[in-house]
């Protein structure tokens, strides 16, 4: 079979052209937002849109000064980091237990955990709202962290279990024979080997929590309000302040833009709950 026939060349050219269009389709809206965030108020409202303009950071300054954007960034950061830490710690431990020491009902437990991912947020939001209200955790970061942890645990457990099951048991068994405790075997042998998967799932958990909207919308009002909900603020004024809003949107996209490079490895696994490796 010839590799460099004319047909092959045309095929490659057409294919590359299509792929470039596809990539352009996916990335252009994002670039648009970033560009608009650098325009002055006047330029942003220009119609037809300006392609050449003088960039300015005034929108970014404005949202921090007039909209207390720093508070929202802090809240989102606290919620995301807190939830990620707790769910990764608890989830990895649980995953190890399920992978290495299965018991009679463990498949059932695993499937129950899987089923949690299916539930629509709206179904649990009402009782969660009332529960948090009762223990006075509404509009507090700790309340949010609690709720987000329960939302992220199923994914962490399910994916980390897959990773642990992929690691051969020999080394841990040797360590146990040598007198190591089970927890010790976990920390010193299994955990270090699971670090790449752990890193990926931690980043994914952070991103999911950072992006979460509904729980934040209902469970916070002013003190613990996170970025996704804060974005609505720019819409309640008369008309929409596009310069400010695109600046806010750009900042919100930063963690994702920074971390996508690192998530590549465990991404598909994390997205499909470990079904596809």
């Amino acid at each position: 079979m010839e590799l460099f026939s004319r047909g092959r060349l045309i095929e490659t050219v057409v294919r590359r052209a299509i792929l470039i269009l596809v990539l352009a389709f996916f990335i252009t809206p994002v670039i648009l937002i970033v560009l608009t965030s650098l325009k002055t108020r006047l330029d942003a409202l220009a119609s037809p849109p300006l392609w050449i303009f003088k960039p300015t950071l005034e929108n970014y300054v404005h949202i921090f000064v007039s909209y207390s954007f720093g508070l929202y960034i802090r809240n989102s950061f606290i919620a995301a980091t807190g939830a990620t830490l707790v769910s990764v710690v608890l989830g990895t431990l649980a995953a190890y237990g399920l992978a290495r020491y299965p018991f009679r009902g463990s498949e059932g437990v695993s499937y129950w955990i899987l089923s949690l991912r299916m539930a629509p947020a709206i179904a649990s939001i009402i009782p969660l709202f009332i529960m948090l209200r009762t223990i006075n955790l509404i509009d507090k970061s700790s309340g949010l962290i609690l709720v987000y942890t329960s939302a992220n645990l199923p994914l962490v457990i399910w994916v980390m279990r897959g990773f642990f099951e992929d690691i051969p048991r020999d080394m841990e068994e040797n360590a146990l024979v040598d007198g190591c405790s089970r927890l010790g075997a976990f920390f010193r042998i299994a955990l270090p080997m699971a670090v790449p998967g752990l890193a990926a799932i931690a980043i994914l958990t952070f991103l999911f929590t950072w992006n979460e909207f509904l729980f934040a919308l209902i469970l916070t009002s002013r003190s613990a309000q996170t970025l996704p909900v804060a974005v609505l603020l720019f819409m309640r004024e008369t008309g929409i302040d596009w310069g400010n809003m695109t600046a806010a949107a750009t900042i919100m996209m930063l963690p994702m833009l920074v971390s996508t490079i690192f998530v590549q490895r465990g991404l598909v696994r994390g997205l499909t709950m470990g079904a596809i490796k």
Binding site: M1, R15, I18, L19, V22, L23, F26, I27, P29, V30, L32, I33, A44, P49, V86, L90, A94, Y96, G97, L98, Y101, S106, I113, S115, L116, R117, M118, P120, I122, A123, S124, I125, I126, P127, L128, I130, M131, T149, S150, L153, I157, R182, N211, F213, L214, P228, V229, V231, T246, M252, M253, M256, L257, T260, V263, Q264, V268, T272, A275, I276
Partner: protein, 289 residues
């Protein structure tokens, strides 16, 4: 051995999960058999039996409209995303060099905050300032008011969804395509099979489990869509984009009829459960063949 070791590892996570999932579900269930308006400070729970459920199913035309909108939304977006995803993944799989770069770029739409995706598309759909009408204008078409016109609103929202989630399909399909073993393919080529035959008899069976997983996950997530539509249209204009999750939200947090909303969210739960169970049954049935 005094205590099963998995308990030591498992219980902290279980505690959190049980407390924050089982309890709310039981609470929700009980609440759905009562009437309770949260905004009325003096109101308490009033037992009404199945009245909420009966009301939803027989006396609430908006419920069925929401079901219809959700069904259209789900079927259209998942189908388009699947087809596009498979085709684009196939094209990418033919590349040798730029795959890593392509994957990194492609991930962006689906990792962006859905609320922000809503913002992005609100900006693009803006009749005066948006890119879409601008480009349409350049080629001489007067663009509609995408999000404000009842006849185009749903399509507009669906396009935004396709932009956001096709990458999800692409990634999964790509991983599946890349896992197809080369020997059967090479053997097929030697035997003189056409590309289409290769695809139908070798590639397709291998990637079928991945297709099912991808479709299932995407269907469930599509059913649950809230953030995107909330930011884009809030369910409007009128009720043309009001999906079930938005309608349930309205009852709970606009009208504050918690019992009714709880019943509706249970209806949603049952629907998701059906989709998931049917899907899983299909998967296990397929894998046994």
């Amino acid at each position: 051995m005094d205590r099963h070791p998995s308990r030591t590892f498992l219980w902290p996570a279980m505690l959190v999960l049980l407390g924050l999932t089982i309890f709310p579900f039981v609470y929700s269930l009980v609440l759905s058999f009562n009437k309770w308006n949260l905004s009325d400070r003096t109101a308490t729970w009033t037992y009404v039996g199945f009245a909420n459920y009966v009301g939803i199913l027989t006396k609430d035309p908006y419920f069925w409209s929401a079901v219809k909108v959700t069904a259209i939304y789900l079927t259209a977006t998942v189908t388009i995303e699947f087809v596009l995803g498979l085709v684009i993944a196939f094209l990418i799989s033919q590349e040798e060099r730029f795959v890593g770069l392509i994957r990194t770029v492609i991930v962006i739409p689906m990792m962006t905050t859905p609320a922000v995706v809503g913002l992005i598309w609100r900006f693009m759909y803006n009749p005066e300032l948006g890119m879409i009408n601008y480009f349409l204008g350049v080629i001489g078409i007067k663009g509609p008011i995408w999000l404000g016109d009842p006849s185009t609103a749903l399509v507009s929202v669906m396009i935004a969804d396709v932009w956001e989630w096709t990458p999800f399909m692409i990634l999964i399909m790509l991983a599946a395509l890349q896992s197809v073993a080369t020997e059967p393919l090479e053997a097929g080529v030697v035997d003189g099979a056409s590309r289409l035959q290769l695809f139908r008899f070798i590639v397709l069976p291998t990637i079928q489990p991945a297709i099912v997983v991808a479709l299932l996950l995407r269907a469930i997530d599509s059913f649950k869509t809230f953030d995107l539509i909330y930011v884009l249209t809030q369910g409007g204009p009128g009720i043309t984009t009001q999906v079930l999750s938005l309608y349930t939200y309205k009852w709970g947090f606009k009208f504050f009829e918690m019992g009714y909303a709880a019943a509706m969210s249970y209806a949603m739960l049952i629907a998701v459960d059906l989709i998931a169970t049917l899907g899983m049954r299909f998967v296990t049935w397929q894998s046994k063949k």
